[in-house]
Symmetry: C3
Subunit: 352 residues, 3 copies
């Protein structure tokens, strides 16, 4: 199940770039190259977190776990592609909550009557998703209600980031035992690493982390540069590319883990990856990108399109409803994937 | 409790039509004539399903159970009354989820502290309703976000229909025992028939099915022809007539069964009828009408009005919330009926 | 914890008014003076209710508990400040559901793993909130869908008021024992009074009630007269003043009680105050103000702004989700307060 063979796409991407290949080829190959790098970065983070104690380790895991998305988005932001960055935030939320979680429920639930997961954790995550939905909705709502351009994005980003900090205190301090009913629940990479590869030395973990970061940065710059011409050649809007494809690149490795844990009937792990990734994108990645936007001189707002905010809000409502009972089955997975398909159809036909 | 005495309205309707009576009279009488015919069609389907084995029987019951709506809507579609057809879809969803289910909770819950029903079944149905709400919302959202007319209705209809097929596999195959905790749960007509009338021969069932189909078709053509002039005479908009009256015609017999089962404290049956009818209208009738629209040369889209989609979305959210705990009481029924009344007020005053 | 020392602001307010002080000073001082008066009115109502039997007492408590809001809003309505009245209804709903309940969960949950409350009561209250949200949404939706000015507010107000009456029958008659699992659950003032001050004589209760009503009326007139000039001086819009400040004035005493009960791990009481206040504002105060509007010759509609209705709808959805499991913790409180802050940011920047 390892995706490491995809690393072969790194030299291929560099070669294609050197020979000035078509943007479509560069987009696809650099995207495929990032998938195993994102997976390796997660592994290295988990390995390193073993050496720094549980709390700092949890913090590292929660923040560095989103490094691939942040690196890709940072380059896109620098190129003035703020709308595509926002589309990839939307896509990351929809993709994780509907596609990854849906596939997990289908593959996990097939052949089983039901699968169970921790209701309280699901409740807290469901609540955080609602907070995120409100935060991503207010700037657009503000624009709609007033027709004015005064952005409230920075203030909203601060509140979202505060909610994220509070959730870390909850998860890593006051309710630690709640989310640790199964070992490694919020560090699924950890268990995977231990099973498959044993413990790394501290030096190896740091070296891998550094090397992978540089490689992701190089691939991301190529990927971002190819988005617009590649989308144009393929007849996609850049928004569709952002919502569907860009969002998958940073999350594919995690999605595969989520499905694998579900298949093993470890729905708590699966749920932790898919829903955790969504809350982190909304409460950590999105605010950090707003702050980063000021740093790179390309201020980003949180003014999403109507189609995006309604998609996010309804997705949160559906997932929240289906997970409130602490049980799932394959049919609920089919529902999530159907909702994903319908939104994807909408985004596909939306004009630029 | 039999509604068969209403069959007397069939000859009356034919007579009124012959003598060229007022559209109001023809509308009312043909509508009343369809009510017992829809009930009889349900009975005949249940009877026939006994002879064909459980799975085929379940399929027949799930698809033929919607035949009256499909026949009425087919004639309306042929007459170019697509908006009224969509209004009757909206009305069927609101009427079943708010009015039928609300009345069932009131009559069933009065004098009892609480009534209980299967939470898992309620969860799956609640999820399907969300899928339906998203599907019926996207075309309008698409139109709103873009101002363009590109319809995504056919693609959405295919996804909704796929969700319907999957739900049949879930109900009739993989989770059969879940929905059969009480005998005949999803075939309430069956139990009713057995209690009241005994088993029919296969020939009788087929003959009744054929005869009733012809009569429904004749009454439907008269009903559809009278909608617009009758609405105009009564000061209603055709949309109000579709949402409130037309929706009741095909569902009145089922609604009475739902209330009766609730009174007997068989809320699972009651719930199965009211919520099942809504999911079938959204996931089976609506897509089939889109496909049928191409066949009759009057393509129908799923572009509902804003008022309709917000009514559907909020209704799904309210019902989903009230049924998530597997318990109900009369006050929850009052809430559903109040929400129905408020939407009915809105539709009444909406200009054409 | 008594707020009675704030009574000193009554003579201060009168003095400032006499000397023609700045509107800001008059607004603040008269607002502070109303806080203890509202608390005293609640106490007097509870004391009096002891003498009239449980059912009449419950009715008195449910209706007179909202007297301060009604008095303030009545004066504002007479001055033609209908938009500010509606803003204070919005603010009262948001403030109670997000700020009071959120603070209660934070202060009550800190140092505890979880707090529990009655799920069935939470379910009924959650349902009533949805009914309220639909009712407050339809007039704006009607306006949006049609662009026409035909108001449906009076009809909607009648349905909301009917739902309120039904909920009183539920609470005081058919399901009395449900909400009385802890003594005084829906009369938190009662317990507080008994603990702190003993029983009052019937005469004292009536005298206090009368005196307090007169004082609230005087202070309210001063407060209402100062809203617009004070808001202008402070750089707030009147809507922001209504949503945030005016809403707090009538509810501050109750909010403090809610937090105090939460701290004592009596979340059912806390929940009853915060959520009960919201449902009463939406189902009793709002309709009564519509009826009162006709009486004072300043008809008020229920046409809220988009920002208000989306804020109310999402708030109801969030609270409904977080309370559906009958458990809470401090993180859920942080979420509610974060959502409150984000809406407050939105209202702050909204132009008049």
């Amino acid at each position: 199940m390892s995706l490491n063979w995809l690393l072969v796409f790194i030299p291929l991407a560099l070669g294609l770039d050197w020979y000035g290949a078509s943007p479509i080829a560069i987009f696809c190959v650099s995207a495929l190259a990032i998938v195993p790098l994102a997976g390796l970065m997660g592994q290295a983070t988990e390995q390193l977190s073993i050496y720094v104690g549980a709390t700092i380790g949890g913090l590292m895991s929660a923040s560095l776990g989103n490094a691939p998305e942040l690196i890709i988005s940072g380059f896109a932001l620098k190129e003035g592609l703020g709308d595509i960055v926002k589309a990839s935030i939307t896509g990351s939320i929809l993709g994780n909550l509907l596609f990854s979680l849906g596939l997990s429920m289908i593959f996990g639930g097939w052949g089983r009557q039901r699968q169970q997961f921790n209701k309280t954790v699901a409740g807290v995550n469901g609540g955080l998703l609602f907070v995120a939905a409100v935060g991503l909705l207010i700037p657009a709502l503000f624009h709609f209600a007033t027709g004015k351009e005064r952005e409230v994005s920075t203030e909203i980003a601060i509140v979202l980031f505060f909610a994220y900090i509070a959730s870390l205190v909850f998860t890593l301090k006051t309710h630690r035992q709640l989310v640790e009913t199964e070992p490694g629940q919020y560090g699924p990479g950890k268990e995977q690493v231990e099973e498959e590869e044993g413990r790394w030395s501290k030096g190896k973990a740091i070296a891998v982390l550094g090397g992978v970061t540089v490689l992701i940065a190089i691939m991301s710059e190529m990927l971002v540069g190819a988005i617009e011409p590649a989308s144009a050649s393929l007849g996609f809007t850049p928004i569709f590319a952002g919502v569907i494809f860009l969002a998958l690149v940073g999350n594919a490795a995690e999605a595969m883990n989520a499905v694998r844990f579900a298949r093993n009937d470890q729905m708590d792990l699966s749920f932790g990856i898919a829903v955790g990734a969504s809350t982190q994108v909304a409460l950590f990645v999105a605010p950090v990108l707003v702050f980063l936007g000021y740093a790179v001189g390309q201020p980003m707002n949180l003014h999403f399109t109507y189609f995006e905010i309604i998609a996010i809000t309804l997705t949160v409502a559906v997932v929240s409803r289906l997970t409130s009972d602490g049980e799932c089955n394959w049919m609920e997975g089919v529902m999530l994937v159907c909702v994903y398909l319908m939104f994807a159809i909408g985004f596909f036909f939306l004009p630029a």
